[in-house]
Amino acid sequence: MSAAEWRNAMNAGSGRLAMGKVLVLPPQEKTESWTRKNPIRARHVLVLGFLLAFPMYATPFLTYQIGAQSLALGLIALSLTFLGGYGGMVSLAQMTVAGVAGYMLAVFGASGEAALSLGWSWWIAVPIAIVIATLVGTAIGWLSVRTEGIYTIMITLAVGVAFYYLCLQNYSVLNGFQGFQRVYAPTVLGINLREPVPFYFLVLACALGGYFLAKYILRAPFGIAMQGIRDNPRRMNALGFHVMAHRVAAYAVAGLIAAVGGVLFTWYNGLVTPGSVGTSWLINILVIAVLGGMRHPIGPFIGAIVFVLLQTFAIDLIDRERFNLVIGGVFLAIVLFSPDGLLGLWAALKSRFPSGSKFLTPRGGIR
């Protein structure tokens, strides 16, 4: 069956989404129309141009802390959007996968803990870290695809918290509470990637790579099948698709994206500690993904930018003490009034009232 036929089947089924499924996310009509024609619009050129030119006029601080951090976090959140928005599986363990990559990078590569780190070169340590983290991501997927909906959130949260406590308590490999300091980006071909501008471009390249990988997969037969499974696993099963295998494969892809994001985020911080994989970060990634909107792979990046801006500058507007109130309030407002995040808000604004109201009124009734 071709991809186009699948799209039709999917769109036809979207009206009957609510049947029997615990977890329902909105279908991707916008994406579909975009992919059908796939034109390069003015806004794409604009965004890319802005991203490339950003370090030229921004201070090193903005380039590094806002630009690079947002993109790295966005990449990790993209893996959640990929799983949650398109696979219907909301995993809170994506930060854990990223953390595994960071920890493995510190264990196999160089860090301040000479006694624990093997000190291998980056071109060995980075692939090992990414491979291990991807495997871990796949394993988490294999464990959690047996569960559905809310239970998936719970089991992935449990896996994440278990890993946090493992990091906290294990001193022989993971160095316990202190974790690893001085996990720095390497110097490649004479370019010191620790410098804000080179690091920004490295992260930008990876983020674009992740973004287009996600877009490509979502249009490929596998991605279409995944979205079909999200909308109606039973029907897909009847059609001969191996539902579990597709889901585990989705976790593997998401694991890869999160692993790359994890390596970058660890380099960004220059350290990895249990705090980097604690509950608050697990939730933060979900906050970022939901803030931006799970309807499109650009969502997590938008969410990350908003999140990082809030986190950095909220203290200048209000007491840092009340920062969490702002974050929580913004998040609450978004989920209450625009279930599709900032993207949904944008879509609602753009299409004015007719389709705008669609995002604002809850669907449902008792099932």
Partner: protein, 414 residues
């Protein structure tokens, strides 16, 4: 609070800029202050901020002939958050001097970050990890407070004097308690004391019933190194379970936030000996003046503690070092702050608890108090000074070759 200062500094900046133009930037010294206003140390972190602000207030906001502008930031005891906040202060707000952070892991991370900003001077807040100045020290990171292990020197002898020959250690399972236990045990073991059991409680555990059940009959006392809610929970559960062994406290076990928690039963703490860089009832005039000033500026009704906490004192000391250094160089921060740093390195800092010098790693050599908890007429608990130990360095009096950083199993004398 913060917002008001922010608005005020904005208005002030605008006025100054209009009248003095370029001169403005030469007049003001920006100091960044990082503490914890959220997370597990939020209560202590807020008191740390009070201590640092008090040091500036005492000088009427001036040092070395220049006006001080304070820019505050907060983290939640996580190293990555601390570095982000510090980076914002240094690179976005362009502070000249950084004071902070609060906790050990943060301290190590900020120290590492300080190496990338060689023209800014970093002074510690209250973080007390041994590794900060022992492993890969940074040339522009200064710590004018003594750390966890130093705070416990002298307590081993005090415990033996009380007749505690065998003790059990109950402490949280991370770096700071390791260093505290080391400070206690290195002396205690050397003088012949025995520590048959160490119970390391994983962070985040709040139910101590299992640990209490493990306390052997044949120990004379318990060394309890738990902070905040953990200490409170342990004390109450131990008392309720019928426990009556005397206690030896860590520096955070009998600090103001534990002595003054909201609740009734605190009497089981009376008689507890502890080691700390602060003692409420220390009667030197400098300290009394400091306490009086703190109480005047931050009365209990405005959220202050009855007596300044450890965090308030340590932040005060480090901020005072920053300001005294400015005085010493008359506000001259030119040449990548070289003169300023030299002044800091050579300074003998006058603190409310005695003089502080720095060692070659820019770590404080200072005073520790051995205290005992007593109850006053109003029913408030406070610490009475048993003994004062001066000139404690980070090697705890050992030779550099013999010294090993504290861990779960180091030192050991079952």
């Amino acid at each position: 609070m913060k917002k008001r200062t922010f608005v005020r500094t904005l208005v002030g900046a605008a006025v100054l800029a209009v009248f003095s133009g370029v001169a403005y930037s030469q007049q003001t010294v920006k100091i960044g202050l990082l503490s914890n206003l959220e997370g597990p140390f939020a209560a202590g972190g807020a008191d740390g901020m009070r201590g640092a602000e008090l040091a500036i207030k005492q000088k009427n906001g001036m040092a070395g002939g220049r006006k001080i502008e304070l820019i505050k930031a907060s983290s939640d005891a996580k190293p990555d958050v601390a570095v982000n906040a510090t980076r914002k202060l240094v690179e976005q707000d362009k502070v000249d001097i950084m004071v902070g952070p609060l906790s050990g892991g943060e301290g190590i991370a900020v120290k590492e970050y300080s190496k990338t900003q060689p023209n800014i001077t970093f002074i510690n807040g209250s973080s007390g990890a041994q590794a900060t100045t022992l492993v890969n020290p940074s040339p522009n990171f200064f710590r004018f407070n003594t750390e966890g292990a130093q705070w416990m020197v002298g307590l081993g002898k005090a415990a033996l004097d009380k007749g505690y020959k065998r003790v059990m250690v109950i402490a949280e399972d991370y770096a700071f308690p390791y260093s505290q236990v080391q400070g206690f045990m290195s002396e205690y073991c050397r003088l012949g004391g025995k520590v048959p059991v160490k119970a390391w409680v994983p962070l985040g555990g709040k139910d101590y019933a299992s640990v209490i059940a493990r306390i052997p009959k044949d120990v004379d006392a318990l060394v309890v190194i738990l902070g905040g809610a953990d200490a409170v929970n342990f004390l109450n559960q131990y008392e309720a379970a019928g426990g009556d062994k005397p206690m030896i406290g860590g520096s955070i076990t009998v600090s103001q936030d534990v002595l003054n928690y909201k609740g009734k039963r605190r009497d089981s703490l009376v008689g507890t000996i502890a080691g700390a860089p602060i003692a409420d009832s220390f009667d030197a005039p400098e300290f009394k003046a400091f306490v009086a000033d703190y109480q005047k500026n931050y009365p209990v009704s405005a959220g202050g503690y009855p007596s300044p906490s450890l965090f308030a004192l340590v932040y005060y000391i480090n901020m005072k070092a920053a300001l005294d250094g400015l005085d010493a160089v008359k506000g001259d921060l030119s040449g990548g702050q070289a003169k300023y740093r030299e002044a800091l390195t050579k300074m003998v800092l006058k603190t409310p608890v005695g003089d502080v010098r720095l060692d070659s790693n820019r770590q404080a050599i200072g005073t520790t108090f051995i205290t005992e908890v007593v109850k006053d007429a109003q029913g408030n608990l406070s610490n009475r000074v048993l003994r004062k130990v001066d000139g404690i360095d980070q090697m705890l009096g050992m030779k550099k070759e013999d010294f090993k950083m504290g861990s779960r199993d180091e030192p050991n004398c079952p």
